[in-house]
Amino acid sequence: MSITVIKPGLLSTFQDAGRTGHQHLGMPVCGVMDTRAHRLANLLAGNDRDQATLEITLVGPTLRFEAPACFAIAGADLRATLNGTPIPCYRPLIARTGDVLAFGSAAPDAGVRTYLAVYGGYALTPVLGSTSTYVRGGLGGHAGRALAKGDTVELQAVLPTTEDTLSNLAQALWQIRVYLTSALAGRSRSHLRLLPGVHWDEFTADSRNDLLNAEFRISTQSDRMGYRLDGPSLAMTTPREILSEATEYGTIQVPSGGQAIVLMADRQSTGGYPKIAQVITVDLPDLAQRRPGQTVRFALVELNEAQRLDCEREEAFTQLQETLAQIRDVLERVARD
């Protein structure tokens, strides 16, 4: 009832929807960088509530199943194989005891993060209400850190071990058709959409123009905490000290050096730099899938529109969850916790 880590990959951490509710105590939210892929992986693996998935970055791990499991992969194509045979993303699949799931490297321009969900979830101990790994703080996930060679991760659900049952299960799952509506498709946009930040009006007209018209390149100094953007230097009309205050995933802040930084999942809960803009929620997965060296362009959108898109995506998830009830039904018939 576990998975053994043969190779850990570059950065493989367990993440869920995030450690909300503790930001007033200085706790970063963490959680998945790409909520879209994470939620799809969970739904496709038969989970109808938020379970931690394994967030896999750029170069994936090699894992051995020590018990049968149903799993699904969503996000970047890291050329996953099961016992050496290529397997598809966005499908519920069955692993037998001893099966080896291996991920390769992300192809250029095809995303950098993929999410591995297992039916029933991984057996992780929640810390302050979340199983997300906060690597800098050494807490959550598996031992508060990224996976390492030799780690054993327990699974919550037990599938039957008889080959007949498993092949019937695999057959039944294979017959289930999965369609993703456009609201859930992971296509990359030419322009990521922005809302003005709380200090937007205090930036020079040139800075605002540059943000909306120039091309920015994601710096190599980018990680789960923030993406630094190389491009035109941005400045306030009258620079002033900004007091530390709440920040959000997607906040674009500009330290006095003028380089824009987009705050990502592991951002600190508060920050004291001026905030020029905010990437809208539905475009964060697109940004999170871009790698250092790739470019990004921005365009303004209305708040109403951003919230409408967010609601539309939420509706699409709700519908997909209903459609995929058949996956859960098939699994619930044979599994026990």
């Binding site: 105590l25 703080g137 709380v198 530390s244 709440a246």
Partner: protein, 241 residues
């Protein structure tokens, strides 16, 4: 953007979106005890109202961040939530002096515990003992926690503790360090980079996820720094483990 004032006081605030899942409420633009207490009072009002869709209420020196999910059956859009908050705050908020706890924080000043104590004294043009006397005055407020779990921003100290942050930050400040800048103190819960002037150290644990509450201090607490000697520091540190 909404600009309003409460009928029961001269309080004014400004509500502004921060993206599509967060809004900011500003009560002022400088570090000030009464503005800090307003933020904390408003945070209490919003928490007690238990607004649907709201996940986090994050106070800072002059502002509140309110995080919400704008979807689902009960989730509000920005305009709805801003109007709800507007109505709640209009019923009247008074600076909060009640809900916080009084907390004594033992501090061993100077020496290896506070390598910058002499520099702080030099900057203020006073003696080391006078710095300690100023720092141990009662009446400090925990305005906010941020930067790292359990790291409090405490103030407002006497203006003679208005030393700026160090020109070059340290890459690693030891856990428990008590550091000052700009008439405030921060306490480092763990080994972290930092540019504040370290004047001492506390043996207390500032953050422990296994503990409830997980942080020693919370926004709104009133802090009194109490000087201790190295022997007491060691004793308290061992007792805490």
């Amino acid at each position: 953007m909404l600009e309003s004032s409460s009928p029961s006081s001269s309080t004014a605030w400004r509500i502004q979106p921060q993206g599509d899942r967060c809004l900011m409420i500003y009560f002022g633009d400088q570090i000030d005890m009464s503005i800090g207490r307003l933020c904390l009072a408003a945070a209490n009002v919003l928490r007690q109202a238990n607004l649907p869709g709201v996940t986090d209420v994050v106070p800072s020196f002059t502002a509140l961040g309110v995080f919400y999910q704008p979807h689902g059956r009960h989730g509000p859009c920005y305009a709805d939530l801003a109007a709800q908050i507007e109505q709640l705050l209009s019923q009247g908020i008074t600076p909060d002096t009640q809900t916080g706890r009084d907390v004594d924080i033992p501090v061993c000043y100077g020496g290896e515990y506070g390598p910058d104590l002499d520099e702080v004294a030099r900057h203020a043009g006073i003696s080391v003992d006078e710095v300690i006397a100023l720092h141990t005055q009662p009446g400090n407020l925990v305005f906010m926690l941020g930067f790292a779990p359990g790291l409090p921003y405490i103030g407002v100290h006497d203006e003679r503790l208005g030393i700026p942050r160090r020109a070059s930050p340290r890459t690693a400040v030891p856990a428990g360090s008590v550091a000052v800048a700009n008439r405030q103190s921060v306490l480092y819960p763990s080994r972290l980079p930092g540019g504040w002037n370290i004047i001492g150290a506390t043996p207390l644990s500032l953050f422990d996820p296994e503990r409830t509450p997980s942080t020693l201090l919370q926004p709104g607490d009133r802090v009194h720094f109490v000087p201790i000697d190295p022997t007491e520091f060691s004793r308290l540190r061992e007792a805490g483990q």
